[in-house]
């Protein structure tokens, strides 16, 4: 059996879910028998591959850039997994929603700075009006709540996916876990 191609993607999240992924520690070696990481912030690939079996997506959709990325990921992925509360529910990044993007840009780049007070117009992608979970943009196949989902949860779900076994997500994790 050829190994499953797995990608991990980082949108508007704190990287905590990726830390949890790395927290699988020596179990990553076991997993490496079943899967191959073809794209991720922790490997070198620059372009999202043409065909991916499983994509684990961390983070909410908060900018035009995130929106472009998630659509591309969906187009090339068989099983898309929303990894963590930000991807599943907006979570901490969505706390700006009641106030709008101008308010937080002002706070970060004007009110809280003493020099060079200006809102960047290049490099930092334009923010969307509201931060949304990824399933409001593309179809999501598996939702893994948790902030972050534990290494154990990630391991159980990945092994189940790789071996074609069913898995009961709610027995493993919840919002805020």
């Amino acid at each position: 059996m050829s190994k499953l191609k797995v990608a991990t993607v980082w949108l508007d999240g704190c990287s905590g879910c990726h830390m949890s992924f790395l927290d699988m520690d020596e179990r990553l070696l076991e997993l490496a028998e079943l899967i191959e990481i073809v794209y991720s912030p922790i490997v070198d690939a620059k372009e999202f591959p043409g065909e991916v079996d499983i994509a684990l997506v961390e983070g909410a959709v908060a900018s035009v850039d995130d929106e472009k990325k998630i659509k591309k990921v969906r187009a090339h992925t068989r099983t898309l997994v929303a990894m963590g509360d930000c991807a599943v529910a907006g979570n901490v990044p969505s706390m700006r929603n009641p106030f709008g993007p101008e308010a937080i840009l002002n706070r970060a780049y004007i009110e809280n700075t003493t020099t060079q007070q200006q809102i960047p117009c290049v490099v930092v992608p334009n923010l969307l009006k509201v931060v949304r979970p990824i399933h409001e943009f593309v179809k999501v196949d598996i939702f893994l709540p948790g902030c972050p989902p534990s290494a154990n949860t990630l391991y159980t779900v990945l092994t189940a996916l790789a071996t074609g076994q069913p898995v009961d997500i709610s027995s493993l994790t919840r919002f805020g876990a």
Binding site: S94, D168, F175
Partner: protein
């Protein structure tokens, strides 16, 4: 003189049970260890049937009844857990999450919240409706407690415990529909209200909406269990 207790027999989830006249379906189910999820109901307070999580099916009727307020009748056949009921319960929970701002990961009640626990128990892994993200206030004017309207689900437990048990009736509901919020006195700050500082509302609040300052997080669960005991002591007097 004692009234003869009128006994009703009924079936809950294929189990034959007997009950006293006037008992609610929920009471009878709990006496027989049959689990029906609830949210606005709390042992020791009146029931308002507000959250609809406890809806059950009655054979021969296509109307769903809230088990916390519906009373038993002779020959009743109750179903407490069907695919239809599970679907409704999940939808109710989704609407509650979408209505205000629930960010469990940074909530004072993370790990001991009844809404969060119910979501997990009912297999809810995401919310299909778009979040409303309303702008809501946090009242930290009280020197001991805080009210965070972002987390309130309008179950009115606080209103009932303050009126029925403490007898102070500081809490009430203001506004209509989606604009409803719980208020203290006539919408004064909690800190300058007629609050007696008993803390009962905090203990019965199922979510992170009411909490005791500096007592937050997983190590500080709420304790609503004092209510049945308090009622017992009162009746004994």
């Amino acid at each position: 003189m004692t009234d003869a207790v009128e006994v009703k027999t009924l079936i809950i989830d294929d189990q034959e049970v007997s009950a006293r006249r006037g008992q609610t379906i929920l009471e009878v189910a709990r006496e027989h260890d049959i689990h029906i999820p609830t949210l606005c109901h709390v042992e020791g307070l009146s029931n308002v049937g507000a959250c609809r999580l406890c809806l059950v099916e009655i054979k021969g009727s296509n109307k769903l009844l809230p088990a916390c307020v519906a009373t038993v009748f002779e020959g009743m056949e109750v179903v407490t857990n069907s695919e239809r009921l599970r679907r409704h319960r999940r939808t109710i929970l989704e609407l509650l999450f979408a209505e205000r701002n629930h960010i469990c990961s940074v909530c004072v009640s993370n790990g001991h919240c009844e809404l969060q626990t119910l979501a997990q128990e009912q297999g809810l892994t995401h919310v299909r409706m778009p979040y409303r993200n309303p702008q809501l206030s946090v009242d930290a004017s009280h020197d001991r407690f805080t009210a965070d309207h972002n987390r309130c689900i309008l179950c009115t437990r606080c209103v009932r415990v303050c009126a029925e048990i403490e007898g102070a009736h500081v809490w009430d509901v203001m506004g209509r529909g989606i604009n409803s919020i719980v208020i203290t006195d006539l919408h004064q700050d909690w800190g300058s209200s007629t609050c007696t500082r008993c803390g009962k509302c905090v203990q019965v609040c199922p979510t992170g909406a009411l909490f005791e300052k500096s007592k937050i997080g997983t190590d500080n669960p709420k304790n609503p269990d004092f209510l049945p005991y308090l009622n017992l002591m009162r009746e004994a007097r």
